[in-house]
């Protein structure tokens, strides 16, 4: 029974851990994508 309880704890902490890592990566990728987005051409801006 003790092992089952530990496995439930592993389930909770494990899924939390994976989601935290993935959400942090999503955040950083989103910021990176925005920062490195190709700028519109100057001649397009001047129109």
């Amino acid at each position: 029974m003790e092992n089952v309880l530990i496995s439930l704890e592993v389930m909770g902490l494990g899924m939390l851990g994976i989601f935290v890592v993935i959400l942090v990566i999503i955040g950083i990728v989103s910021v990176l994508t925005r920062l490195s987005r190709p700028k519109p051409d100057e001649d397009q801006n001047s129109r």
């Binding site: 089952v4 496995s7 704890e9 592993v10 494990g14 851990g17 999503i26 990728v29 989103s30 190709p38």
Partner: protein
């Protein structure tokens, strides 16, 4: 003349079963095309190691002469002592993966996390069945849908079921086209499976492609340090691919290097398929738990998409089948989703979304493996 018959007379019924299993693995590899690069060497190796007095294993001959066996040596040096083969394979896998579809639509990455649920679910069921925590975690890693991760976890935890775990991990990966449609249909309606998702790819800069593997390695390493050998080698392979100046190395990693490692891994892992270790009730239980894990992975990903849909406006909803592609079996899972979508509606193309979720499953599965390696010893000790 008796020495000519000594091998024949020494065959046990368990070894005969292993010859049949070896034959089935070779049949599945060659006739059905199920992971042939792995299942064929494993099947042949299963026969090799189960021949009586097999020369591929260490033997003590009459007169006390010691003879070393090549498969035992390969296993002890490249898997047992260092886990080198499964880890090195990740360089090749990383070099094969294009993270472009994922970087183009990063929210698909959520499914790479959700579809690891089966690992933890099968861990719980395995402990309920009486396996100790280290063996249960090793068995649960089958549900990572990622052979090298399953091997690494079971090897570090010194599980006695490495052979059964390897067979389950690789054969179920090959059975994704059968397992996933069943699991997806179990938890989705036809209306949900018909949801269309337009694909508007963004331009991903080279800087982002290069920084991505480095950032993932650092974040994963800081949160789950034991995952670094897995994530790090996967991302190193990807960096080889994306850096743009090491094309020949990237090609080598994707082709010759990955092929050699795969060939050696298949043969080497057969060491753990010796009849006395393999032919028992636990092997059948492990196969069942692996199957359960695969089904629950898929259901976890699909349910995550359904929950997200509760908060998304009409027109932005996600086809829940995409969630099922969050497992690590790449690219089979993405192809299965595409095929299912086209079967329901021949104009519904979900492939690129599914590939995004599927490559994130590669990251999710190695993270899950690392988290198991981190958490289990801590909780057992605590």
């Amino acid at each position: 003349m008796e020495f000519l018959l000594s091998g024949l007379l020494a065959i046990t019924w368990q070894q005969l079963i292993m010859y049949v299993i070896g034959g089935v693995l070779i049949y599945l590899a060659l006739k059905k095309g199920f992971e042939p690069a792995l299942l064929m060497p494993m099947g042949f190796g299963a026969i090799l190691v189960n021949l009586p007095f097999s020369g591929v294993l260490d033997q003590t001959l009459q007169g006390g002469i010691e003879s070393n066996g090549i498969i035992q040596w390969l296993f002890e040096t490249t898997i047992e002592a260092s886990e080198a083969l499964p880890i090195l394979l990740f360089i090749g896998i990383g070099a094969m993966i294009d993270f472009g579809p994922l970087l183009s639509n990063p929210k698909m990455m959520v499914f790479g996390a959700a579809a690891q649920f089966g690992i933890f679910f099968s861990l719980m069921v395995a402990t309920m069945m009486g396996f100790d925590l280290l063996d249960a975690a090793s068995i649960a890693s089958v549900a990572a849908a990622d052979g090298p991760t399953a091997l690494l976890v079971s090897q570090i935890f010194k599980s006695k079921y490495v052979g059964a775990i390897a067979v389950a991990a690789y054969s179920y990966m090959a059975l994704v086209p059968i397992v996933q449609p069943f699991a997806i249909k179990l938890v989705t309606t036809r209306k949900e499976r018909l949801i269309r998702m337009p694909y508007n790819p963004r331009n991903i800069s080279k800087t982002t492609r290069i920084l991505f593997p480095i950032i993932v390695t650092i974040i994963a390493g800081l949160i789950a340090p034991m995952s670094v050998s897995l994530v790090g080698f996967l991302m190193f392979g990807n960096l080889l691919r994306e850096c743009g100046v090491l094309n020949s190395l990237s090609q080598t990693a994707q082709n010759e290097f990955a092929n050699i490692i795969t060939l050696l891994l298949g043969l080497t892992i057969s060491f753990s398929m010796k009849a006395e270790q393999f032919v028992n009730l636990e092997t059948i239980l492990i196969m069942c738990l692996g199957l359960l894990g695969f089904v629950m992975d898929t259901i976890g990903g699909v349910l995550c998409a359904k929950i997200m849909n509760l908060f998304l406006p009409q027109g932005k909803k996600i086809n829940p089948m995409i969630g099922g592609a969050g497992i690590s079996a790449f690219p089979m899972s993405a192809r299965v989703i595409q095929k299912m979508a086209l079967k329901e509606d021949n104009q519904n193309h979900l492939l690129m979304h599914a590939i995004g979720a599927n490559v994130s499953g590669q990251i999710g599965s190695v993270l899950a493996g690392g988290i198991l390696l981190n958490l289990i010893p801590v909780l057992i000790g605590g």
